[in-house]
Structures are given as structure tokens and as C-alpha cells.
Amino acid sequence: MSLTALLVDGLTVRFGSFRALDDLSLAIDYGEVRAIIGPNGAGKTTLLDVISGITRPKQGRVLFDGAIDLTGLSEAAIARAGLRRKFQKPSVFEGLSVRQHIAIGADVGFRARLDAPALEDRIGEVLETVGLVDHSNRLAGELSHGQKQWLEIGMVLASDPKVLMLDEPVAGLTDEETERTAALVRALKRPDRAIVVVEHDMDFVERIADRVTVLHEGRTLFEGSMAHVRADAAVVEVYLGR
């Protein structure tokens, strides 16, 4: 296992004449929580789209674990390699129960591979972590917005990912829910796991992130700790404001 979980190298993505990502390079290490911030249209979500295989870049590559180039793989293959993602808009399966979500997340395949007790244990464990034990048999469509966010986190968590990507995990949550989410993200931090968080809530970012990357117009504007970010004149200019 290399130290670098994700190496983004010279990534360019174009939508028509618009450059969503412009020769972007960055490295994310195992064991860190990396926040990616920036104004709307900076390319944050597009970066996650490329990493998770939804968008094909025009140029560049994304090396996972120092060896696997993700840009040629299917979404499913990338996910099976150990990279999971929570989407910006809560994406859950409205017709399935909470338990089913965790079961699908924990065990990939058209048939179950884990035996029944092991799966039950895993489901219980994950539900405990995201605090949805009491809702395990409810349909996802009936959950509140915050519960959906946690369900989605639980779903991606269930597979024990090496890279966990969270796209705006606290958007639309109450302060208390944000608090709980921050605690959850910190708890998920492990030496063999990289966590990438895209978020606009600066207080939340400050609480969870080890390092922060500021994107602007598809390029890296700044990289460093949150304290340094707040001090950087360019970042203040384009994003944070005075």
C-alpha cells in the first residue's frame, strides 16, 4: 500500500467550450480527511465525478493506490476497488428499506456472499454508527432529509471503503445534525482510509479537515490547513469574501 490514496494528474474535463477542470493535479493521502472547497462551478463535483467514473476526462489520469488508473474503469469497477461516494443530492432507493440499503452496500453481488449472521452483524453495526437502528424497516422514501443523508453515508460505509467521498454531507441539515455528522466523519478517519469531503460550510470544514484544497475555475488555487486558507488573500478574494 502506497502512502498516497489518490493521485490526480493533469486532469482536464470540458463541457462544450467550458473547462470544468483545467489541468488539475493533486494528491490525497491515506489517513487524512481532505476538504475540497471553492465557489460554484469551480469543478468540485466534477472532480468527484471523474474519480468515481461517471465523467470521462479529456486528458489526465487518476491513480488509485499508486497503481490503478481509474479513468478507464467503469463506475462499478471503481466502487469494487474500494472507492465509494455519497452524492450531493441525497441518492437513496426510495422503494427499499433502510436495512436493504445497508445489505446492498455491505455485500456486492447479485447473490449474497456473506452468510446471514455475518450480514446481520454488519447491518447492525453500520446502523448503530449512523444512528438509524430505530428506522431499519422503514422505506427510504419516508425518511427525513437528514436521515437520508446519513442513510447514504451508512450505505457507502457498509463496504468499508478505502476512499470515502462525501459531496456536501451537511447541506440542508440543522446545526445539531451538522454537529453529529462532523463527529461521524471524524470517527470514520482511519490510517488506511482517505476521506474526501466537498462542502461549503466553512465551520464544518474547519472541524473535520486535516487539509483543505481550494479549487477555482478548474484549478488548484490553494492547498493547506484551514487556518492558512482563511489567511490567504486570493482565496478570500474569490471565495470566502471579507
Partner: protein, 368 residues
Amino acid sequence: MNRFGLITHTAPIVHLITLIVLAALLMAGLAGTEFALSRYLANAIGQLAAFAVLAISLDLIWGYLGILSLGHGLFFALGGYLMAMYLLKHSFEITGTVPDFLQFMGWKEFPFYWDGFEFFPYALAAAVVMTTLISGLFGYVSFRSRVGGVYFAIITQALVYVAMLLMFRNDTGFGGNNGMTGFTVLFGWPMGTSGMITALAVASLLVLAGVLAGCNGLVKSRFGALMLATRDDETRLRTMGYETLRLKLIVWCLSALIAMLAGMLYVPQVGIINPRVLSPELSLEIAVWVAIGGRGHLVGAVIGALLVNAVKFWLSFAAPEIWPFILSGLIVLVVLVFPNGLMDLAKFKLVRPMGPKRLASDMGEARP
């Protein structure tokens, strides 16, 4: 409740399967007695059962996978035509009846591709292989390029339309616009007798019960949960490591095979097949049965098919010209007032069209 935590509605579907099997047994038992059903009624029940099987095949992909096919008549016709080929060849072998289409075309003998169709296992195998090939190929190219939603629906509609134009041609060796008819023998037994009619109806009911049980098992399994997940958010499922292309392809081919089976049951009971089963209208009507019965409920699909077709059978005698008006009225009613069809009615759940809360089963239809 099973171990995936699905809240299962075991009762209605078990009841329905039991009811169908009982009806089949009763029909078989009463055959030849004074309590036997009239030939017309027995035949109608058999045809309705075939339509119910067809409805299940569409519900499987529309209700559970969110893929609407407006061309399922293609697979129904495929089964029907290959069954008709078997019947004609078999009748010719046994009784020497020369099929009408040979006479129409002035041909001396069957074209070479009819070889072997006098053996039922061969005809069945040919139907399975061809249905799998056609549905597999079409499904693969469509799902691979992620064609879905309305696009997929209208391309399947174009597919069935083109197939209809093709079969209307008289030089294809499949009967052209007259189709194929004049079946006299099935498995060595003469057709058209009361016994044969009852036997076909009973067989159709049993196949319906079997298909219903099989599909129920499938949708209640882990695989079924994955089908629903694909319907609700395919990209989400893909980014969790599942090859949804394979899943969709499997279900799509399975659905096509069930539709084919319905066609094979249908043809010996109506005694004719012609290109009109390939008309876009029939394929749209299948979707209407399912919508009226309730998408995503196997019981609903069966009841929808039975009800709509029973009304249609009845009206085709009473007042054939008002049927299209009733059908269009039913569709509008279902679409506006009962989005889940009779399933809403069963729960007395009247939904205001502009109601703020969307139903879970509407989710499969993301905007394109």
C-alpha cells in the same frame, strides 16, 4: 418479512396463486361433466390467462426495473409465430393439411427455414434462442449506451412497428398479412374439441400460476431488491459496485422470454396469428393493463390484464365502437387519479393529481 427486511405482501399473491391453481384444477375436474364451462368461456379464460402472463412480463421490467417497453408485442409475436410454425408443420405431417400461406404464395413446399418445426422441442428451443438473441442484442446495445426512459420506450415502439411492416410482406414465408391459421393438430390431438380447449385453458392457468410464483420469488429476493434499486437510482447503484447493465439485461431477457411464453400459449387458443399482434397499439395496451392494475405489483398486473381484457371481450360483442373511448377514459383516470392503478383503489387511497407528496413508485421515472 425476509432477511433483507422487505415488508412483504405475501397474502394477496399467495391467495391469487392458490385461486388460479384451484380454478385450473376445477376446470380440469369438471371437463366432460354437465358442469363444464361452455367452449367459449373456457377459451376466453385460457386467452385471458395468456394475456395475464404477458402483463407480468411487462410489469417485471416496468414496475420493478423502471424500463418501459412499448414493443413487448414483438416477443409475444415471436413466441406466437414460432408456435404457429410448429402447429402448421405438425398438422401437415399428420393430416397432410397444406397451410394457407403456401397456397397464397403458390409455393410447392415449406421454405428451408421451416425444417425441424414439426418437432415441438425444436420449435420451443428455436423460440427461446431467438427471443434471447433478439432481446439480448437489442437490450445490450440500448443499455450499454444508457438509453432509457422515454427514449427507450419510443425506440421499442419503432422496433415493433418495423417488425410489423416486415411481417406484412408476403414474401417472407411467414404468411404475410394473412398470417398463419388452419391449425388442426396439437401434440397429435385434434384441435377445436372441447377437451382440447379445456386442456389449453388449464395449461395456461397453470403456466400463469407458475410464472407468478417464479416472478414473486425473484422480486422478493436480494436480486429483486437490486432491481428496485436500479429503478430508483441506477447511477447510485453502479457507484456501489454493481454492474447494472448485466442486471438489466438479465431481467430484460427474462421478461422477453415470459412474453414469448404468453405468445406460445395464446396462438393455439385463438387459432390464428397475423402481423396485427405486432401493431404498436397492442404493445401500448399491455402497458395500459399494467398501469390499470398497478405497476410494481404482480397481482395488480394480473388483475389489470384480466379486467381490461374481460371488458374488451364483452364489449367486442356489445358495442365494439365505444371500446376505444372507454379505454382512453380508463387511461386518463388511472393516470390522473389513481397513479398506482387498482392498488390505490384497493387501499382507498385517492391521490390528488397535484398532491405535494410523490409516491415511492413514481420514482423510477427520472427526467431524461
